[in-house]
């Protein structure tokens, strides 16, 4: 098995259960009460971090670094939960986590942070991240990170990676129709944007938490303040869809009759 250097790009998003509404601010759209809403690591980024930790465990000597851009206070809050899950080191960038920021600019900041990781060895580098985020939902960040880092092998919507003894790996990417495309890559470096993967949620482990905190706390304290520029990007409007329909409620109709009505509707 080979030693890998896995860097996970993972932003934070409002806890998906929250009620979200946009508002226009001086610098463009923003989430109403963004700083009041509890945040979580982006769900897809979390899957990728979980996969990274699993891969590192299977390849002794490997290391996982999470690179995360978000408001420092919110990153701190999220790390309290994340640090208990899997072992990783953190590179924190203090900046916006908004979905309305420009993905290419975010990618440039992430790539710069990755380049700055001490002892970075690109021949062992796997850059992980979510295939999309739950904020911007575009799926356009990881590719640019890869381009800036000069990585030619990129995979999107990955559900599985099998690393072989020679360092090559097999990747399963989601394609249309609930299917997967299977590819074999000669080895690192590569970029993998993850879908959900197949791993179960790991338990909270106090010892992992203790170990992680030794590097996470200092990293948070020295998180670099960053600005995300969005030059040339304008929002004509951001609105919540008004989707209220007049629902016809059918009560007390026998199942047979409902079935007949449904079949007629399907065939229409």
């Amino acid at each position: 098995m080979s030693e890998l250097q896995i860097v996970v790009c993972g932003g934070i998003v409002p806890d998906p259960l929250q009620t979200l509404a946009p508002q226009m601010g001086p610098t463009g759209p923003a989430l109403k009460n963004e700083m009041m809403l509890p945040a979580v690591l982006d769900p897809w980024a979390w899957h990728s971090l979980n996969e990274a930790a699993n891969l590192a465990k299977k390849n002794p000597g490997s290391k996982v670094t999470l690179v995360s851009l978000g408001p420092k206070a919110k990153l701190q809050q999220v790390m309290m939960t994340m640090a208990q899950k899997v072992p990783f080191e953190l590179v924190a960038l203090d900046g916006p986590a908004s979905g309305f920021t420009e993905s290419a600019e975010v990618a440039a900041l992430l790539a710069e942070a990755i380049e700055g990781i001490p002892g970075l060895d690109k021949s062992k580098l796997l850059v992980f991240g979510g295939w999309e985020s739950a904020s911007r939902g575009a799926g356009t960040t990881m590719q640019v990170v890869g381009e800036i880092l000069g990585i030619a092998d990129q995979f999107l919507a990955v559900d599985q990676i099998d690393v072989q003894a020679d360092g090559s790996f097999k990747v399963y990417e989601r394609v249309e129709g609930g299917k997967h495309q299977v590819s074999v890559c000669a080895g690192a470096p590569a970029v993998l944007g993850w879908a959900t993967g197949n791993l179960p949620e790991p338990p909270n482990n106090p010892q992992i938490g203790m170990m992680n905190m030794r590097t996470i706390m200092p990293s948070l304290q020295k998180a670099k303040p960053t600005q995300v520029k969005s030059e040339g990007l304008k929002f004509a409007s951001v609105e919540q869809p008004q989707q209220r329909r007049d629902t016809k409620i059918v009560k007390d109709m026998p199942a047979d009759q409902i079935a007949a009505e449904i079949v007629e509707w399907i065939r229409k």
Partner: protein, 609 residues
């Protein structure tokens, strides 16, 4: 795993403790003031485990004088904390019953009649009488109001930034580790188990966390504190007989609402005389509004949610709220025994702080600042012991923490308040008179009460609705509801004149939608059910099932097959109402109900409460 100090539960008491401790662990020049005993050469290892999925979940809005909090943060700038504002105006509203369904005693009916007759000369409007005078002991005019969720998050952020202590949310603590009467640490909850707690995929047994000092601040329903009470017993004459469940909504007020930021409205009298209410106006046209249903409201179908909906629609409140939108919702149990619920504050290896340590002042209706104060006092004591290299023995903790507590305003005021609420245990009127007596005589004179356990005083629906619904009628309703797996309260309340709630989808909505939209309630997989019915045969016999009626999340439901109610962990908001609302009890221990409320994961996902 070994630590210097393991802490359980992150609320205001723990905020006070860790804030004071973290400042004291470092010298002015930044060097560590004391060394870790478990990791020599390192600063002390202090970790706080919090049950909820994040800090500040599952708490409430608060108005507080904030004396202790301001002591910890002399430069406190409320603008830094979302939803916080200084108190600007306090009102006390006596709400009359515009519906005619409220169960009012003769004295109140007479009072209502008088107020209506004198409407032309008294501040009576919208079926409410604005009490012209708020007793000084209840005033909070020099304080501030806040969302305790946001406040806790802010405190947690300050603490994490200090780097001196760690806080781990989403990690419930199963139990204290007790050896020879001393607490030696805690054990975390098992993960990767099925509903019954049996090992399942990804099983990870709860880890033992050993520490010379365990700080317990898990509140009145916290399993660690309660297990210590069971192991050590309560001090002579102390008990936990008085409780309340508080339920509220955080509401985006309509644009037309004219309430000013910093307005505090207290209500009494409606929907039932025993139910008190509050409304706090935060910056940004947001209000927190809710009610308390106390254990001495002897209604066996005490559905807080249904009563909350009627209370919100009282004309004196609805005129402000109508057209608004609920953005958060939640519920919590409050320990109302105050100082009489004080457990053994310290012992070898442990100390208790906060609400679970009996710090709530039941006369001034104040608990957050008092809880914070207990944390500060413990931290001062702990720092003193650490610097002197002394052990965390009962004796040493008494000489430092308990001594500070006994000599402070906290003790003085809680003594005055000790019996202030007793009158309510007999009647609303006696309660009001008793509060006034205690308040004006500084606790020297009090109205006597009826100190029985909730289960001893709760009547059956047949007794409560005597003369209004026939026993046969109740039996029929019960049979129908059981068949449908529904609780009884809606049918009974409809029957005695409470109008059905017309949902507007904004503020008035089904209980489940309040859970989903406001509480964002959820439970992660891999944990055992934390609500367990201990005596199935007692449940079989129990026709009252207060647990089902009061359940804040409809997580406990009637079993269509009869007998033991059903529990759905994914709906539980961890309010703990079931703990004290059991109509049966442990046959061997009259102080213990028939429901075990254990450590559990999940619950509310809103930090705006």
């Amino acid at each position: 795993m070994d630590l210097d100090i393991v802490c359980v539960g992150f609320g205001p008491a723990m905020g006070g403790f860790l804030t004071t401790l973290s400042k004291g662990l470092v010298n002015e020049d930044g060097t560590p003031a004391v060394d870790s005993k478990v990791m020599p050469g390192m600063p002390p290892q202090v970790i706080c485990y919090e049950r909820a999925d994040d800090l500040g979940f599952g708490v409430s809005g608060v108005v507080t004088r904030g004396r202790a909090i301001k002591g910890s943060f002399p430069e406190l700038n409320l603008d830094e904390i979302p939803m916080a504002a200084p108190v600007k105006e306090e009102q006390l509203l006596y709400l009359m019953d515009p519906i005619g369904a409220s169960r009012r005693p003769l004295s109140m009916r007479l009072a209502d009649g008088t107020l209506k007759a004198l409407k032309w000369m008294l501040p009576v409007k919208d079926h409410a009488f604005k009490v012209p005078y708020i007793p000084a002991f209840m005033e909070k005019h020099d304080g501030f109001l806040a969302s305790l969720g946001q406040f806790n998050q802010w405190v947690g952020g300050q603490l994490m930034a200090s780097g001196a202590v760690q806080i781990w949310p989403g990690t419930p603590v199963e139990k204290p580790l007790i050896e020879n009467g001393a607490v030696t640490g805690v054990q975390l909850i098992d993960q990767g188990v099925d509903k019954k707690g049996e090992p399942d995929a990804g099983f990870m047994p709860g880890m033992e966390i050993k520490a010379p000092l365990t700080v317990i601040a898990d509140g009145p329903i916290g399993p660690v504190g309660r297990q210590i009470d069971e192991a050590l017993g309560m001090p002579e004459g102390h008990h936990h007989h008085d409780w309340a469940v508080g339920m509220k909504m955080v509401i985006d007020l309509p644009e037309t609402c004219e309430l000013e930021v910093g307005t505090v409205i207290h209500t009494l009298g409606f929907p039932e005389p025993e139910i008190f209410g509050f409304l706090y106006v935060y910056p940004g046209k947001v209000a927190s509004a809710g009610i308390f249903v106390p254990s001495w409201f002897d209604n066996p179908v005490r559905s807080t949610y249904r009563y909350l909906q009627h209370w919100l629609q009282h004309p004196a409140l609805w005129k402000h709220l109508k057209g608004g939108t609920m953005r958060s919702w939640g519920a919590k149990t409050i320990q109302e025994s105050g100082r009489r619920g004080e457990p053994h504050l310290v012992g070898n290896g442990f100390a208790r702080i906060g609400e679970g340590s009996g710090s709530t002042n039941v006369l001034t209706n104040s608990g957050v600042d008092e809880a914070w104060m207990t944390g500060v006092q413990l931290a001062d004591g702990v720092l003193e012991l650490m610097k002197e290299g002394k052990e965390f023995t009962k004796e040493n903790l008494e000489a430092t923490y308990v001594k500070r507590r006994r000599e402070s305003w906290l003790e003085e005021e809680s003594r005055m308040a000790e019996k202030a609420r007793d009158g309510f245990q007999r009647s609303f009127l006696r309660g009001m008179i008793g509060m006034a007596m205690s308040g004006f005589t500084k606790g020297k004179m009090n109205m006597s009460g009826d100190g029985r356990s909730p289960y001893q005083r709760v009547p059956t629906p047949e007794e409560y609705y005597k003369g209004r619904i026939s026993p046969d009628g109740i039996a029929n309703l019960r049979a129908d509801c059981q068949k449908a797996g529904k609780s009884l309260h809606d049918e009974l309340m409809n029957r005695v004149g409470w109008p059905e709630i017309e949902y507007d989808g904004q503020i008035l909505m089904s209980h489940q939608d309040a859970l989903l939209k406001g509480g964002k309630v959820q439970a992660p997989g891999g944990y055992a059910d934390h609500v367990v019915f201990l005596y199935p045969s007692e449940c079989e016999k129990c026709g009252t099932q207060v647990c089902v009626e009061i359940c804040s999340g409809q997580a406990i439901t009637t079993n269509p097959d009869g007998g033991v109610p059903l529990f759905d962990r994914e709906k539980c908001v961890h309010c703990g109402a079931c703990l004290w609302n059991c109509a049966t009890h442990d046959p061997a221990n009259p102080e213990k109900g028939g429901i075990q409320f254990k450590a559990g994961a999940g619950g509310l996902h809103s930090a705006e409460n």
